[in-house]
Amino acid sequence: MTLWRMILTNLRRHRVRTAIGATGIALGVATMLSVVGLLGGAVKMFEQILRNDSQMVVFEKNVSDLFFSNVPVGLAAELEAQPCVKAAQPVLFAVIASPGRSIITCFGIQASDGRLRRGKWLQGSVAEFKGDAVVLGERAAGFLNAKAGGTIALGQGTYGVAGVVRMENGFENGGVFMPLPACQKAFHKEGLCSVITVAIADGHRLAEVRDWIGTNREHFSAMDNDEFSRSYAQFQIIKVTAWVVGGCAFLLGGLSVTNTMILSVFGRIKELAIARVCGFSRGQVARMIFGESLLICAIGTLSGWALSWAVLYGLRAIPQFQGYIEPSLGWAEVASATGLSALTALLGAMYPAWYAARLNPAQALRFE
């Protein structure tokens, strides 16, 4: 018989109460991991769109969203003229509508863009990607009911369909690739793009490009991809939102644990008094309550892992979400959720443990 055996017995004899407490934590863990995983995955997909075989991205300084960034396309040619740059690709991001579909992501790119190379061509060819002929992602072709050689209405214009490609990234697979000049015209951004992705020449450093931009183009920033991901406000907002939503879920889980532990303490005041009479110190009583809370949270955390895995796996298996849902859960997220769970257990048990520890055993034994 050990203290842990007593803890287990206490939890086992009120199975429903224990299960409710653990469920609160499980939902907290599952919500946090699911939200963080989904939004983290979304961020990762945006990052993939930006990377496009490059190591750096050049964009307009002090814009809150890349959709509002205006970079002269001519800068790409200037960059490519530098020995430290292997390739510089301008990309114009936009959102366009078509009859029956109000939001379609639109990428204004050049025919030499790596995206068109990477995708699996299902219809048409890159040679047709010019003028007013667009390439559709496979999913976009599906919902626009379009085929290579046909035409589609996008925004204010009508465009020919140069081909259909299958892209791994859900946003690209559900998007429209438009020749850059046509895209600029459609969005009244002649001569401009949103970003320029830059691939560094072998033997050169990223800092060379950053320095060149800093010296010659003070209104623009050049960042390596990881630095951009860390500092881009939209990504940060998404990540913070994910953790805040998850944190709120944990708060509710913590209240559930507190409630469970309060009921547990109030339901056995005499037993706690007897434990004190048998020589339990206040600290031992508190440890017993904290131990129960930690065990509830451990059960909840394991269940939460399983639940979040099932949610993420289940969503990914739904055909409509394929490509859009690429959950990204690393050890850091799992460890953070587990750490929060342990913290919740300790905070949730604080009042019940304090109450139990300061019980006057003699009074408690008279308690009816």
Binding site: M1, T9, V277, C278, F280, N360, L365
Partner: protein, 222 residues
């Protein structure tokens, strides 16, 4: 050698409105068996509680085995190693087995499990509950529960046993059996016992009978 020394102890409840002990003094020597007699509400249980440290005194001094029962650490140490307590009701934990209940003081004292089990079997043998050790408390009879409570109180081999109406909830036959057992265990080990009781017959079998009345020690009875 003095085992328990109580000097001019005052204890009240409800912010001083209810005075339960009014200047009580008592000395109990090592190995003595003392009965505290008196009507309900005269302060017997409260006196036992202040001796064990479960209740703090308002004024006065309580010393057990030469140690002042003031600090929390002293109280805990005395309850772990020096004092055993038996109540009118067994106060065993219903969802634990009898053996598990009896091992609670060993857990509290951080004792070794095997030593605890050896002691448990010795005491269970002496009290006749060996065959019941693996059963949950709710499956035991009233007499068995009280014997179990007795075993638990003796698990840490206490020098001082405090008993608050230990046979008060038992029928006549069990009352005799449990009390005989209690006396035998205490006397054979040379332990000290202070027992609060209404039962003049049981009190008559103790070494001393101390009469309490209205929160004071009225005197000793022959």
């Amino acid at each position: 050698m003095t085992q328990v020394m109580v000097r001019d102890v005052w204890k009240s409840f409800d912010g001083g409105r209810i005075e339960v002990l009014k200047g009580v003094s008592l000395e109990v020597a090592q190995g003595e068996v003392v009965a505290l007699c008196g009507t309900s509400g005269c302060g017997k249980s409260t006196l036992l509680n202040v001796i064990s440290g479960l209740e703090e005194v308002d004024r006065g001094m309580v010393r057990v085995a030469g140690r002042d029962v003031v600090e929390e650490s002293t109280r805990v140490d005395l309850l772990r190693h020096h004092i055993g307590y038996v109540f009118q009701l067994h106060h065993l934990m219903p969802d634990l087995t009898l053996a598990e209940n009896c091992l609670v003081p060993i857990i509290a004292a951080g004792g070794h499990r095997n030593e605890g089990l050896a002691r448990l079997h010795e005491l269970a043998e002496a009290t006749g509950v060996t065959h019941r050790l693996g059963q949950r408390v709710r499956e035991l009879s009233g007499g068995e529960r009280q014997r179990g409570a007795l075993v638990r109180s003796l698990m840490n081999d206490p020098e001082l046993l405090l008993c608050d109406e230990p046979t008060g909830a038992l029928d006549e036959r069990n009352r005799e059996n449990v009390f005989d057992l209690l006396l035998e265990l205490v006397r054979s080990r040379g332990r000290t016992m202070i027992m609060a009781t209404h039962d003049s017959e049981l009190a008559g079998r103790c070494d001393r009978r101390v009469r309490m009345r209205d929160g004071t020690i009225e005197g000793e009875m022959n």
